[in-house]
């Protein structure tokens, strides 16, 4: 089996006196789509935010391509971060800018600061690459439309293209389909599945739709009160395990 692109061990995080993560472990390999399931407050998003460096974990090891982020010198840490892209529930694009300009922003880490002050100065090679990324998500024909004029599903696909333009090989998605209608949600999940299975990226997505996760993801991790309740191939997850995640009190009562 391939070694994991992203490996997390013993992740702990507390907000004040409230522990949110109590030792989360997981791996994601190239070509794999992993889904995090769990009720609100179970620690799914915090896990991703810790991996991205948006939140600082209290303890644990996060390794990208086998390198422990905690022990990397600054420059290598930046490179490891560049390999990891995040897709957000609220999409976080700039609505007034075109899809192409938003996708180009994924490449900012490799554009000199002087050439990144306005999309007018972005190198032609970056614009070309951004256009190819939009083509990969099926939106090349909307490249010059303002993002604010696209549908929610299309906006989320632009966000995926931005992650591709970052040349990331690990894509983390925090509730990428929560704000989308069922059809758009299927499209975005199909795209994430394509990135994993065809483009061989390592993809991990927090989902609130167990049925979508079981159909699209290769593996599911259930989080309960900040700890791993199960880590199984999607085909082996059953209704009782899901019930235990979303209604633990009811399971205990019965």
């Amino acid at each position: 089996m391939d070694s994991p692109l992203l490996s997390v061990r013993g992740l702990h995080k507390s907000f004040g006196n409230r522990p949110v993560l109590k030792g989360v472990d997981f791996d994601v390999r190239a070509g794999e789509l992993l889904a995090f399931l769990g009720a609100n407050g179970s620690g799914k998003s915090t896990t991703l935010r810790c991996v991205m460096g948006i939140a600082q974990p209290d303890a644990g090891v996060i390794a990208v391509g086998g390198d422990d982020l905690g022990s990397l010198p600054w420059r290598q840490l930046q490179e490891a971060r560049r390999r990891t892209a995040m897709i957000f529930q609220k999409i976080h694009l700039v609505p007034r800018r075109t899809a192409l300009d938003n996708v180009c922003a994924g490449a900012l880490a490799r554009i000199p600061t002087g050439r990144s002050l306005s999309p007018l100065f972005f190198p032609r090679s970056v614009q070309q690459e951004a256009l190819e990324c939009l083509d990969r998500v099926g939106l090349a024909d909307r490249a010059f439309d303002r993002v604010g004029r696209l549908s929610g599903g299309q906006q989320q696909r632009v966000a995926v293209a931005r992650a591709l333009c970052q040349r990331a090989d690990i894509v983390l998605a925090d509730e990428p389909v929560s704000a989308l209608d069922p059809h758009a949600a299927e499209q975005v999940m199909a795209l994430l599945q394509h990135l994993a299975h065809v483009e061989k990226l390592a993809v991990a997505a927090v989902l609130h739709q167990p049925d979508l996760a079981l159909r699209r993801a290769d593996r599911c991790i259930g989080l309960l009160h900040g700890a791993t309740a199960f880590d199984l191939p999607s085909s082996e997850v059953d209704a009782a395990q899901l019930d235990a995640l979303y209604a633990p009190d009811r399971v205990v009562a019965t």
């Binding site: 991205m52 460096g53 948006i54 930046q78 971060r81 560049r82 990891t84 892209a85 995040m86 957000f88 609220k90 999409i91 976080h92 694009l93 700039v94 007034r96 800018r97 922003a105 994924g106 900012l108 880490a109 554009i111 600061t113 990144s116 002050l117 306005s118 999309p119 966000a159 931005r162 992650a163 970052q166």
Partner: protein, 248 residues
């Protein structure tokens, strides 16, 4: 308790300003005579209207340059004085202090200072407005950046963009409509401020209104006020048109 405090404050303010409506009732005849002297307005082209239009144009130019030339300074200070974009807490505090200073000193005081350096005329007015407007606009812009959605900035930070890239590609594009709206509002205010600056020698229609009053030419004064009214309406309509275009 709060109501009592408000009432006490107003009582003190009324006493402090000598606010006495009775005086207005007693003195209405003086006001009526003043207004009557202004009618009919002086419509002579060479003596009143043409100089009035020329001076109005100068007033407009003072307001325009006072607004646009303050943009680079206001923008830089706003970025440094916004919690979401300031590189360091000390820089943030320093930039806030500079903005407070420029805002606290009235434009008319700046004008008097600049008159001693560059002499009487519109240039001193432009310099005064640049200084004061930098303070006001910088603060308004900094606040609008703090209130804007920080999500796109966070997304670019996670993608490895540095702080300058985050500001240029997420924070500023997110607040363009608010920035332009505030800029137009300040242009509107500055055109009216440049009228007042005319009273201290900065030129423009304010100077002509002052001269008309001092020489008891109230009919000329009225003509100039009508021209000002038209100017203000035109500026207001222009601002509304740009805002509509931005919203579309």
């Amino acid at each position: 308790m709060a109501v009592v405090a408000v009432v006490v404050l107003h009582a003190l303010a009324i006493q402090g300003t000598g606010f006495e409506p009775g005086l207005l009732v007693d003195g209405w005849k003086g006001m009526a005579a003043f207004v009557a002297d202004a009618f009919p307005p002086d419509l002579s082209w060479d003596k009143t209207i043409r100089p009035g239009l020329e001076a109005t144009l100068v007033t407009l130019w003072i307001g325009l340059l006072g607004t646009t030339f303050s943009v680079p300074f206001a923008l830089l200070l706003a970025v440094l004085a916004s919690r979401s974009t300031a590189p360091h807490r000390l820089v943030y505090q320093g930039a806030r202090a500079v903005l407070s200073f420029f805002r606290a000193v009235p434009d008319i005081v700046f004008a008097l200072i600049f008159v001693t350096a560059v002499g009487l005329g519109p240039f001193a007015g432009v310099l005064a407005l640049i200084c004061h407007n930098t303070g006001v606009m910088g603060k308004l812009w900094a606040e609008s950046m703090e209130e804007s959605d920080a999500g796109p900035q966070e997304a670019l930070r996670t993608a490895g963009a540095n702080r300058i890239q985050q500001v240029a590609n997420a924070t500023l594009p997110m607040v363009v409509p608010q920035f332009v709206g505030l800029l137009l509002y300040r242009f509107d205010v500055n055109v009216r401020s440049s009228l007042v600056l005319g009273l201290v020698g900065a030129g423009g229609i304010g100077l002509l209104i002052n001269q008309s009053i001092k020489s008891f030419r109230f009919d000329s004064m009225l003509t100039h006020i009508i021209i000002v009214l038209v100017l203000i309406i035109v500026v207001d309509q222009f601002s509304a048109w740009v805002r509509r275009k931005l919203a579309a």
